[in-house]
């Protein structure tokens, strides 16, 4: 049972990386990005494509992709998504839905439907002994550390920096924030840029840890979303913990039956939604 819990935590830490970007984008500009999971998959396939021509380790490829991912997110928000923001949530949803379809089918066209993965070499095979005959993989542990670091960094960015102040201010009251001289469209673009850098990282790690195929996106979106809701909105640490909980619940489900893991996760999500609609650790204002 302990092993299941630990594996769940490791699984959840990857979900946390998926969820942080979603939480950030929704927190700053109330944008629901239906293509979120597909962007993760896109990041993975970008790394896979690069891996076919450059003999680098996937982690190096991932690091190299962070800047392009950042730039991609900036452009995406600035030139496409900013135009869809407003009181009506529909335009942003339809546009990102369309984007989701475009990405999935473009990837299908380029890579076919076969699942692919990134060869992490020794990192993907090695494991660490944790007492009582439990071995945890080094890659999942590394993911946990990266995930913790990203959550801490993001929370710090929001709480302690001028940019974080700007994010919170524009999310509270865009009009008055602009009255202070803030350019909302640029701030939004920065938020998505950071989110996409995280997404790229998450995609590369996902590709290392397991296989990816072009149609994986929607399910990853649902995991990210469930993590955010379970954890509670308004706090990145909350999202992190929500993701861990989801991971653990799924792992418990997998333990009983391979087909039940994701189902369990959905059910727990719904239960949290009914019992504690604001999530388990919401940040109140």
């Amino acid at each position: 049972m302990v092993e299941t819990l630990l594996q769940g935590v490791l699984l959840g830490s990857l979900y946390a990386l998926f969820a942080l970007g979603l939480s950030l984008m929704f927190g700053v500009m109330r944008l629901t990005n239906v293509a979120h999971g597909d962007l993760v998959v896109l990041g993975a396939f970008a790394a896979i494509a690069i891996a076919t021509v450059l003999p680098w380790h996937p982690l190096a490829i991932g690091a190299a992709l962070l800047v392009p991912g950042f730039g991609f997110g900036y452009a995406l928000q600035r030139y496409l998504l900013n135009g869809t923001l407003g009181k009506d949530p529909l335009p942003s949803m339809v546009v990102t839905f369309g984007l989701s379809i475009v990405i999935q089918n473009a990837l299908l066209q380029l890579f076919s439907a076969d699942p692919r993965s990134l060869d992490a070499g020794a990192l993907g095979i090695d494991s660490v002994q944790i007492g009582a005959g439990i071995a945890l993989g080094t890659l999942p542990l590394l993911i946990l550390i990266i995930s913790l670091a990203c959550t801490a960094a993001l929370q710090l960015l929001f709480d302690r920096t001028a940019l974080g102040r700007a994010f919170r201010a524009v999310s509270d009251d865009r009009e008055i924030a602009e009255l202070m001289g803030l350019d909302a469209s640029k701030i939004y673009a920065l938020a998505t840029a950071i989110a996409c850098a995280l997404i790229t990282l998450a995609g590369v790690l996902q590709g290392m840890r397991t296989t990816v195929s072009p149609s994986d996106g929607p399910l990853l979106l649902l995991f990210a979303f469930e993590a955010v809701i379970i954890g509670g909105m308004g706090s990145f640490w909350g999202t992190f913990v929500g993701a861990l909980i989801l991971g653990v619940v799924q792992q418990i489900g997998f333990h009983f039956d391979p087909g039940w893991g994701i189902w369990f996760g959905h059910l727990v999500f719904l239960a949290v939604l009914v019992v504690r609609p604001r999530g388990l650790f919401p940040r109140t204002h």
Partner: protein, 345 residues
């Protein structure tokens, strides 16, 4: 022309005063329009005697798309609730019809509306969960709920589990008869759905709905039961979606969880409504026809076709905010179903 339907003030200024086709303002012409519609329906109803069976099958399929899109439009465009999970009720309708037919010995044609009602009943507890969320998160939350249904039905061996099962209750009826009655059922469902939505939106409830859509707070202060209205719309949309689902699998004769609860249904509904124009009653009709045409012409291109659809959804949303039909309406003043009340003159 006063447009209460339009959310954005620039619409009402741009629509030219009184050019409309289809159902114009003066009573005599409107009477003519109703007669014409009745004639069209009668003609359509006679199809089994002079048309090809493939036409009937196509009609049944397009009817399903149309009804599902109309109900999605009712929920999103009028109810203000954008859902990516309506396929939950589509699937419930299909499975309810099949279960009633296969397991309870009910005539499948009768099981279609019964299945729809069953979905309406289920929609109530579902709403208790779904309404915890708003806006974009509501949309994704409904998707999760649909997934729960999909995975749950995949575990029910009595209806075939993950690989699904066939509708056996129609064995013993001749193919021609089955196709004919299926076609009529579809026709009846389409007419009923359009009539239902049209009458609903013209009623006082419909106006209350538009008030809620424009501003929930203001509507609440006017004494409108916002929560009740939203629930009503959600249930009606569920019934409609289930009707489409029951009808689809009546025609298809085979159901599986992946087909019944596929998010593609909602994707198609979004395309149809976005092309046709959201919040306009004829939007889904126009959108369904266009979507159907596109399907016929391009679906052989597989991923390229879908990619094109996705791009089209993006472009239409950004550049043609009222949908292509809505744009044409504004530009040329066409209306098919005037649901706006005229204030004053």
């Amino acid at each position: 022309m006063n447009t209460i339907l339009s959310l954005r003030p620039e619409h009402s200024a741009a629509i030219p005063p009184s050019v409309s086709i289809g159902a114009p303002a003066n009573p005599a012409a409107r009477h003519m329009a109703w007669v014409a519609t009745g004639g069209a329906i009668a003609l359509a109803a006679s199809l089994p005697w002079w048309g090809e069976s493939s036409w009937m099958r196509e009609f049944v399929e397009i009817a399903c798309y149309l009804i599902f899109a109309m109900m999605w439009n009712l929920l999103a465009g009028y109810g203000g609730m954008v859902s990516i999970g309506q396929q939950a009720f589509f699937g419930i309708g299909g499975y309810a019809m099949l279960a009633l037919g296969n397991l309870a010995g009910v005539n499948p044609f009768i099981a279609v509306p019964l299945g729809a009602i069953a979905a309406g009943v289920i929609a109530v507890p579902v709403s208790w969960v779904a309404f915890r969320l708003q806006g974009g998160y509501f949309a994704i939350g409904t998707w999760v709920i649909a997934e729960v249904f999909r995975l749950s039905f995949a575990n029910l061996s009595v209806v075939g589990g993950g690989s699904g099962t066939s509708l056996t209750a129609l064995r013993g009826i001749s193919k021609a008869t089955r196709e004919g009655i299926t076609y009529w059922t579809a026709l009846a469902c389409v007419v009923a759905s359009i009539a239902l939505v049209y009458l609903f939106l013209r009623s006082k409830r419909g106006l209350a709905l538009l008030a809620i859509r424009d501003s929930e707070v203001a509507a609440e202060s006017q004494g409108i039961d916002v929560r009740g209205m939203k629930l009503a719309v959600y249930v009606v949309a569920a019934i409609g979606a289930a009707l489409a689902g029951a009808l689809y699998f009546l025609g298809n004769l085979r159901i599986s969880p992946d087909a019944a609860f596929s998010v593609n249904w909602t994707a198609f509904a979004i395309f149809m409504v976005v092309i046709g124009g959201i919040g306009r009653i004829e939007g889904p009709i126009v959108g369904a026809i266009m979507f159907w045409t596109l399907n016929k012409l391009f679906s052989d291109y597989g991923t390229w076709y879908l990619l094109g659809l996705g791009l089209m959804a993006i472009i239409v949303t950004i550049f043609f905010k009222q949908g292509l039909w809505g744009w044409a309406q504004q530009r040329y003043g066409w209306t098919l179903f005037p649901t706006q009340r005229r204030l004053g003159k």
